[in-house]
């Protein structure tokens, strides 16, 4: 497809959960699958929006006349999520992280943040609105095909989690309601599906660089806006992952083209992304009359004093890679797993850095794959092994076996793995070569390794063997 000819304009919106308590109360941001303690039933009414007119999106939902059930927990949700009490003051930690992210995206914080109420009538907010605040504006990211603007960075509360839907009721769980979300919106300057993916990937990397965002399924959500010449802007909610972005955009272009070619008008609407990257109708595009100030909260003066900008993950990868001469993949894993490699290098001067790195990153995987075992709290358990290795008390080849023993809950007898002395090995090799002259070097090596099982280093044994054979 010739996107330029099609007049493709695309923008993305990224919602990322922060790893803090909730935004407007002190409840933990934790999703739960156990049986809720309380279940309440509410109704929502269509109310006049800010301009005094009922929003068309609101009216659409109103037609359904639904009941909403909300599931709550005694010790991890409170009156705020139940819309029984006003919001507490904004979570300052979340605000600081949001500001940090804004600065990393070259955006300018506003002088004063005013929390707004954005009308939401699908029941996913007990209050009937979502609290959201504009934190910073006028940021940008650089991509291979040019600069893409970030008109806004917002901090808002996540909605409740939809559990079940029946004809006349929807059940939501309140565990997710109120989790801080940073919403990053790009301008419509994205001109190709691949560029959209690049921008989303870059922003995702920036978010993870803070070390303060939630990880895992559902913690980051991507919406994509697509418009083409003669078509219109359509918002697609909930694109599953980065890889799907180009496909979803292409499918939407195709859909709009088909409508245009049959001489129909493309409706301005909100669609949702399906698993196969097609989209389906969700609701009409909400009108602009959806926001008014959250009168229960005072405006907040922003301060960027003391906010440090973390190194980007990409920079961190590169730094590890260059400093320790490690492979790209290993370096990325070290950063992603949050391993403080410098601490190990300093502590265990006699162990080569690649041994430390691969033990920390790859050995756990190997243990699982080859032996089907897992070592809990790996970094702690591996410390005494590194200690022995550093003092040359055990050979490298013993590490895996020792870890298997730990995983199986056995008490490790390190003496069993004691490195044999060079004299001892040399005497044994000399004796063997004399006794079995018929064996070639490979066979001899096999016998030696079997005899000193786990106590010698193969490379060293081979060197000695070569001296006599």
């Amino acid at each position: 497809m010739d996107y330029k000819k099609l007049g493709l304009k695309s923008g993305i919106e990224i919602h990322q959960q922060l790893d803090t308590n909730k935004l407007f109360c002190n409840c933990p941001s934790e999703l739960r699958d156990d049986e809720p303690d309380t279940r309440i039933k509410r109704k929502l009414s269509a109310v006049a929006g800010e301009t005094g007119k009922i929003d068309i999106a609101a009216a659409h939902e109103q037609k359904k006349k639904r009941f909403y059930a909300y599931e709550a927990y005694d010790n991890s949700t409170c009156e705020v999520e139940l819309d029984q009490a006003p919001p507490r003051l904004i979570n300052e930690e979340a605000l600081r992280i949001a500001l940090q992210i804004a600065l990393m995206l070259n955006a300018k914080p506003v002088d004063y943040v005013q929390v707004m109420r954005k009308t939401v009538v699908d029941g996913s907010n007990t209050s009937g609105f979502q609290r959201t605040a504009l934190i910073a504006r006028e940021g940008y990211v650089e991509t291979e095909s040019g600069r893409v603007s970030i008109p806004s960075v917002c901090l808002e509360e996540d909605a409740a989690r939809r559990i079940t839907t029946t004809k006349d009721s929807v059940t939501f769980r309140l565990d997710r309601l109120g989790i801080p979300l940073v919403e990053i919106t790009t301008g419509p300057e994205i001109i190709s599906p691949e560029q959209a993916k690049e921008v989303a990937a870059y922003i995702g990397m920036v978010l993870r660089s803070t070390g303060k965002v939630k990880r895992g399924l559902g913690t980051i959500r991507q919406d994509v806006n697509v418009s083409i010449k003669k078509g219109t802007r359509v918002e697609i909610k909930g694109v599953q992952d980065l890889k799907s972005i180009p496909d979803v955009i292409e499918n939407e272009i195709q859909r709009q083209l088909e409508i245009i070619n049959s001489d129909k008008k493309v409706d301005k609407e909100v669609r949702k992304a399906n698993k196969d990257n097609s989209t389906s109708y969700l609701r009409p595009m909400p009108g602009p009359a959806r926001m008014y100030p959250e009168t229960d909260l005072p405006p907040i003066k922003t301060t960027i004093k003391g906010i440090e900008l973390p190194k980007l993950l990409t920079e961190q990868f590169k730094e590890i890679e260059e400093k320790h001469k490690l492979s790209k993949e290993l370096s990325q894993q070290i950063v992603k797993q949050g391993i403080d490699l410098d601490k190990y290098v300093k502590k265990y001067k006699n162990i080569p850095v690649n041994v430390i790195a691969s033990t920390l990153v790859e050995t756990p995987k190997e243990l699982k794959k080859r032996f089907g075992v897992e070592v809990e709290d790996f970094e702690k358990q591996v410390q005494p092994i590194f200690e022995k290795l550093n003092n040359d008390e055990i050979p490298r080849s013993a590490v895996l076996e020792i870890l298997v023993e730990i995983a199986e809950g056995k008490k490790v007898d390190y003496l069993k793995y004691k490195t044999a002395s060079t004299d001892e090995i040399e005497a044994e090799i000399k004796k063997l070569v004399e006794e079995k002259p018929e064996l070639n070097i490979g066979a001899l090596m096999g016998v030696i390794m079997g005899k000193f099982k786990g106590k010698i280093d193969g490379k060293q044994a081979m060197e000695i063997l070569r001296k006599y054979k």
Partner: protein, 483 residues
């Protein structure tokens, strides 16, 4: 802004001036006169500081609601100017709908580029069914008749009473609305006995109008239970339902509790329950309401929908699709309501607590109060005997001075009993009136109403202990606790 020095007849005068844009031209304007004589640099600085915070926007010709362009040292903001609660911040609504605050001191210029559309709230347009039973409304204020004022950003009594119906159009399937009166619009914490009297008069008028089968009063929640008690005493020979209702969640939000409260109130207003009752959410669910007796109800939570609970009794009725009667009540009748608003407002409600100084009673004696309700502990106690701060003498002095002293339970639940411990018996002998299971707030209202009618000490006591408006419950069932 800058300081200009002028010499007039040999004397120095200082002015604060600013460059402004007028009709597209830059001109100067005097912001303020700073002082005269030989002002030191420090004095001048202080004088300037005092005037710097003056409303800059007004000077520059923009008011809230205007579409403006605000230039700061680093940016250009375009949007609708919003009112500010803080003189150092200017709020504007951006095209995206978000409001942001701009530090006023960073603003270099403001340009008005247009007017925003006025905000109008839709009113009821649905046609009334003339065959339905008629009722009338009295709207007084509170969250139920407040809504966001988008012009000021605050919560205001912007709403016309008619607009309430817009929220709950289902009302018109239950009742025909004859009149909507608005004697005053006031937050409930700002009410006084005068407002109760005015409300009682308006209510009586409507009740004695044959067209009305009942009256609904919308009211703020904070002191709603005082008003319901006051109306219970002030409306004699009650013939029809008087329903007080409220909202804990403002009507601008989808989750407002108003809709259920109003529809249940309408059902109560056309029922055969001739009582002053408070109708509102029975539980946090939007499921059903209770009708609660006006003298035995209390706000028990700062913000829950089901904040009003019956104390020492059960609800009169449960209201959902229909009305399920729970307690005995007066039936509708053909009597004429007599309004009796005589009220002595030189009365006080005083809470006793450990370490409380009895001089508070002395104060009321000195200020010539006529009656005091003391929220006593437990079965009806205040510090006496070995207590460092003994209240007995002060209470005796008050009674000797002709002040009616009543005790009501600060536990709210349960009945006072002066016979269990001897100090209470002594207080009883002094003339303290033990108000059994009456709520302290109801006791306060009743005392004012009784003292408004009676000066004789014995008669006062007799009236205070007479069950006039269901304020006593002779039999408290186990179920009533934390109902």
């Amino acid at each position: 802004m800058y300081v200009e020095k002028k010499k007039i007849s040999g004397k120095e005068y200082y002015y604060l001036k600013a460059s402004i844009r007028k009709d597209g031209k830059v001109t100067t304007k005097t912001i303020a006169y700073l002082g005269k004589g030989n002002m030191s640099k420090k004095e001048l600085e202080q004088a300037v500081k005092k005037h710097e915070k003056k409303p800059l926007l007004k000077d520059l010709g923009a008011v809230p609601g205007d579409i403006v362009e605000i230039r700061t040292k680093t940016s250009l903001e375009k949007g609708i100017l919003m009112p500010s609660f803080d003189e150092n911040i200017v709020f504007i609504k951006l095209d995206s709908g978000y409001n942001i605050g701009v530090e006023k001191s960073n603003i270099t210029s403001v340009k008005k580029t247009g007017n925003s559309e006025p905000v109008e709230f839709p009113s009821l347009t649905k046609k009334q069914d003339q065959s339905l039973p008629g009722i009338s409304f009295i709207a007084t204020g509170g969250t139920i008749s407040s809504r966001i004022d988008y012009k000021t950003g605050g919560v205001k009594w912007l709403m016309k009473p008619e607009q309430l119906l817009y929220l709950a159009p289902d009302l018109l399937d239950i009742v025909k609305i004859n009149k909507i009166k608005r004697p005053f619009a006031i937050a409930s914490e700002n009410m006084s006995p005068k407002h109760w009297a005015e409300l009682a008069k308006k209510t009586a008028e409507l009740l004695n109008d044959k067209k009305n089968q009942g009256v609904i009063i919308t009211h703020g929640t904070d002191t709603l239970h005082y008003t319901s008690a006051a109306l219970s005493f002030m409306l004699k020979n009650l013939n029809k339902p008087v329903v007080l209702t409220y909202a804990q969640k403002s009507t601008d939000r989808g989750s407002t509790d108003t809709v259920l409260n109003l529809t249940c109130s309408a059902k109560a207003a056309v029922s055969d329950i001739a009582e002053v009752m408070l109708v509102g959410h029975a539980e946090t669910d939007d499921s059903f309401c209770y009708a609660l007796r006006g003298t035995k109800v209390r706000k028990m939570h700062t913000s829950r929908r089901d904040t009003f609970r019956p104390i020492n009794c059960l609800p009169i009725a449960k209201i959902s699709d229909g009305i399920e009667i729970i307690s005995e009540h007066k039936k509708t009748n053909d009597e004429k309501v007599v309004v009796d608003t005589k009220f002595e407002d030189k009365i006080a409600l005083v809470k006793f607590y450990p370490g409380a100084d009895p001089s508070i009673i002395e104060h009321h004696i000195k200020e010539k109060y006529k009656g005091i309700v003391i929220e006593a502990t437990g079965l009806g106690h205040v510090a006496t005997g070995e207590a460092e701060k003994n209240w007995k003498d002060a209470i005796k002095k008050a009674i000797d001075a002709g002040i009616t002293v009543c005790f009501a339970p600060q536990t709210l639940y349960g009945r006072l009993d002066p016979y269990v411990y001897s100090p209470a018996r002594e207080l009883l002998d002094l003339g303290v009136i033990y108000l059994e299971d009456m709520l302290p707030e109801t006791a306060y209202v009743k005392l004012g109403w009784v003292l408004g009618h009676e000066k004789n000490k014995d008669k006062i006591k007799e009236m205070m202990l007479e069950n006039i408006a269901g304020e006593f419950n002779k039999k408290i069932s186990d179920k009533t606790f934390l109902y």
